[in-house]
Subunit: 156 residues, 2 copies
């Protein structure tokens, strides 16, 4: 790619409904790999010269991301809609432009409201570990808190 | 900080006017260091465990960022308002959620419209080089293109 090609490609316009030109609209993750519902991913910036990647996830009303934890951090900026997230044992109601930091090895899950989708940017390190799913014991420990159990059951 | 402190601090709410709780509203850069006008910075995510930093810049109507270039890349997501950016010799009109990638060593400048501010997220590597300002010769080369000269003069 020449320098002027790169300049010409430097802009990717936002289209309707939080889709971007030149950005593939993808499944959130492999369907068989972990539980989730009604969520898509668009990788907005993924470049070997950037040490971070910026992705946009959108959860349809009533959908949710996988409950997981990992060594790498998440830095999240809500762009659209309404929902909640679980971070450790804390449940946060979310709205546009709220910031969420997810510390290493903290269980987390995002849920859209029943009435509106939840769309958010998520910054991660490009080099990162694979997420870990909860064991039955981990789930029991999380569910010991009635508010967390309600969240995990989708009663948000 | 204990784990539960970190969980409690995991959310920083968006306030009015694209300000965030717990985020300092700062000058764009040292006033004497380079030409710019009417621009502020908020560092949204800056953590040693993240290899990237996410900042929010807001340019008031008629304001502009410094014309500069550097080795490190910028990955920009417009969040608010209207404006234009110069990337190399290319001028792009900008609106909410447009994506701009600025390649290494590419001259760039952002300008808000006269009617509305321009607010954007900017992802950079945490470890990065200092920006370089244009020499008189660099400026003359850029201004050889009449559209670029108009942009640099603020006639956008």
């Amino acid at each position: 790619m020449t320098k002027s090609d790169a300049e010409a490609m430097s802009l990717r316009r936002a289209g309707d409904g939080f889709r971007w030109e030149g950005v593939e609209h993808r499944p959130y993750k492999d369907a068989e790999s972990a539980p989730f519902k009604a969520i898509s991913r668009q990788n907005l910036f993924s470049d070997p010269r950037l040490l971070g990647e910026l992705r946009y996830f959108e959860i349809e009303p009533g959908g949710f991301s996988t409950l997981e934890r990992h060594e790498h951090m998440h830095a999240v900026v809500v762009l659209r809609g309404l929902g909640q997230c679980l971070v450790g044992e804390k449940i946060h109601a979310l709205q546009s432009h709220d910031l969420i930091a997810i510390e290493p090895w903290t269980w987390h899950q995002f849920r859209a409201s029943e009435a509106a989708p939840l769309g958010f940017l998520c910054l991660v390190n490009s080099a990162r570990d694979r997420p870990q799913l909860p064991s039955a014991q981990d789930l029991a420990a999380l569910r010991a808190d009635p508010a967390v159990a309600r969240f995990l059951d989708g009663n948000i």
